[in-house]
Symmetry: C2
Subunit: 383 residues, 2 copies
């Protein structure tokens, strides 16, 4: 189905289902497992594209829902596409906007060919269906476009969930056909399908197998991280990945904490995105190998150490916890910038380590040790 675009599965771990892969896109290669910083409105909040490069970002996200409302996908297209518009020349994955319609928009009405809703910005009426989301993502020039789907809430009764999965499958097929007919796929763009099914293992398996038959360039596990506890979330991912084609990349949407990422890598997931590292950075919370650290805490008032000693990013090379704490308490914008740089680098570097350990063949013990240290440290800090 795809031409330029494809995925090489370089190695599969023996003691876990972790995979080392390489995804080719129109804007370059992505080494997996990978974390993708989220750039909702055409910017990863608080940092420049140069910062993103410096910390080793390989691919970032854009949001169809937001960019379509403001500034509008036609404007982005007329300005040369999202890459040129936002000054990022690496790969971009765009979600389809379906999830945001369910989580942000007002007065949703589900129709056979899409969803009618009101903008959360100005209340204007909009409609998103397979035709619309594929047109918008083509306007943006997305390297990896997502199909539109219906994301059921958690918990969800079986009938509602089955109906959502049916509708999602039909929309996915329509998106795929549009991408083929318009030459989007032939030009080397990817389109990823999204597997729903909530907590029902059989529905997830059914959706995964049916979508696999449509031979998409990649597959996402959707409907996770919608309020369910972590064991339930991991169970759902584990109930989905075995039924996806091994030779295609797998992506869990909107997840998660550093230990969750490592656990999902062990389940065979290749790609992640999450607003967690950027969002908490803007509130003074930073990640370390010994758990999260709240820089507002008095104990860092005169602490001359960097957030993480030896971590090679601009923030850790140049600034003390005492200074960063001062910026947070003084509500200086630079706090958001410096802590975002650190948190994103921490996530990207964690995935770099994961790739190395998959290659070295010791991912299983390594990731268990890493998680244990992180969780022990987190408990000690909150004590």
């Amino acid at each position: 189905m795809a031409s330029v675009a494809h995925f090489d599965l370089l190695k599969t771990d023996t003691s876990t289902a972790a995979r080392r892969g390489r995804l080719r896109t129109r804007h370059g290669v992505v080494e997996t497992p990978i974390f993708m910083p989220v750039g909702t409105q055409g910017t990863v909040k608080a940092v420049t594209p140069a910062h993103l490069r410096e910390i080793g970002s390989q691919i970032i996200l854009g949001n169809t829902y937001h960019l379509n409302l403001r500034p509008g996908s036609e404007l982005v297209r007329d300005m040369g596409g999202l890459h040129r518009f936002m000054g990022w020349d690496g790969p971009i994955l765009t979600d389809s906007g379906g999830f945001q319609v369910f989580s942000l928009a007002k007065l949703r009405r589900l129709k056979p060919d899409g969803i009618e809703f009101q903008s959360h910005i100005d209340g204007a009426r909009h409609f998103l269906g397979p035709r619309e989301v594929m047109r918008i993502q083509a306007n943006l020039g997305s390297d990896i476009a997502m199909v539109i789907d219906e994301c059921p809430p958690w918990p969800c009764d079986r009938d509602t969930c089955a109906a959502a999965a049916d509708r999602s499958h039909r929309w996915a097929e329509q998106c795929r056909n549009i991408a083929a007919d318009t030459g989007f796929l032939a030009a080397g763009h990817h389109v990823f399908a999204i597997v729903q099914g909530s907590t029902y293992d059989d529905l997830r398996r059914q959706a995964a197998e049916a979508l696999s038959a449509l031979d998409f360039p990649g597959y996402a596990v959707g409907g996770v991280s919608v309020g369910e506890p972590e064991p339930e979330m991991l169970k759902q991912v584990g109930a989905t990945t075995p039924f996806l084609p091994a030779e295609k990349p797998r992506y869990t949407m909107g997840l998660g904490t550093p230990p969750q990422l490592l656990k999902m890598v062990a389940l065979g997931v290749d790609m992640f995105d999450c607003v967690l590292p950027t969002r908490v950075a803007r509130n003074g919370l930073v990640f370390t190998p010994d758990g999260p650290m709240n820089l507002r805490n008095e104990r860092y008032r005169a602490d001359p150490q960097p957030i993480v000693s030896g971590l090679d990013n601009y923030t850790c090379r140049n600034f003390s916890r005492a200074y960063l704490r001062h910026l947070v308490l003084a509500e200086e914008m630079l706090a958001g910038t410096l802590l975002t740089i650190h948190n994103l680098h921490f996530y990207l570097d964690l995935m770099r380590q994961a790739r190395e350990h998959i290659e070295a063949g010791d991912y299983g013990p390594w990731h268990r040790t890493w998680i244990e240290r992180y969780e022990t440290g987190a408990k000690a800090r909150s004590a």
Copy 2:
């Protein structure tokens, strides 16, 4: 009086009083005329020290009033001084906090040896006099410390103004003596005096001459930009500079627009600081050779041009007006960062041009032409 620290007057213009100079500090050389970005709370708002370097910043400001209240000057000292604390290894000038006590603090009470006031942050009582401001600026490790003074309001009756000038002179002399006795001057730090006198030419002359007799390493024109119209402000600067020693640098505090800077250079001023370029950047206003440009304006919605074509800064090299307008309207933090980079670079580059034209001997006609284009463009844009 000073040892390491000194000022070389390299050239004086013939058709104006503009000067080309070089100021040596403990943290390097400053080529004058120069604009100094303002870093009130230990950060130039919204930009990193690396950004400041990239755009050619030579020296930045810190604020004694703010840093003393939060995080406290002892903490900054214990963290290695302000340079190390904020990750800026170039020269730093700190004001004495006197101006902020008058403009920000609550319940001021003037005493013979200083000013008692309440913090604008938490209402706590504080006291700033010559002893305190010199100790704080020594804690910060300031390259150029300012004396504490009493800045009279505008307008101000003659008796009040004369009393303020008297008190300011006494405090300046005390600051100078403390700086000599503590070895602050011998270690190569500068201390600048501040000339007050409001709108009374004779009081300004008297203050300038009396302070000149104390042989400070530099002199500031204070009490300007406190609400008076521009002609009055320029008159006050022009009534002060002729009575300051030619071989010492001159600094007008808290000024101004790009044309005002060029006019003050023509009056023989060497150093400027102002929050204008950084503050308006965070509200979507940017500077161009054709006047200020409000990026919120609909006319820039689909404008693919950079703010200023050919201007070599990160913002103008990489982003369109359309994109920057989008960031402003979406209230993205990156808007503040990118527009601050541009505005500061615009100011710094304007001073670079001024230096070149003073050297070339055509500062007079050049600065008149520059101001005419700027003001003509500003009128056209607001029409």
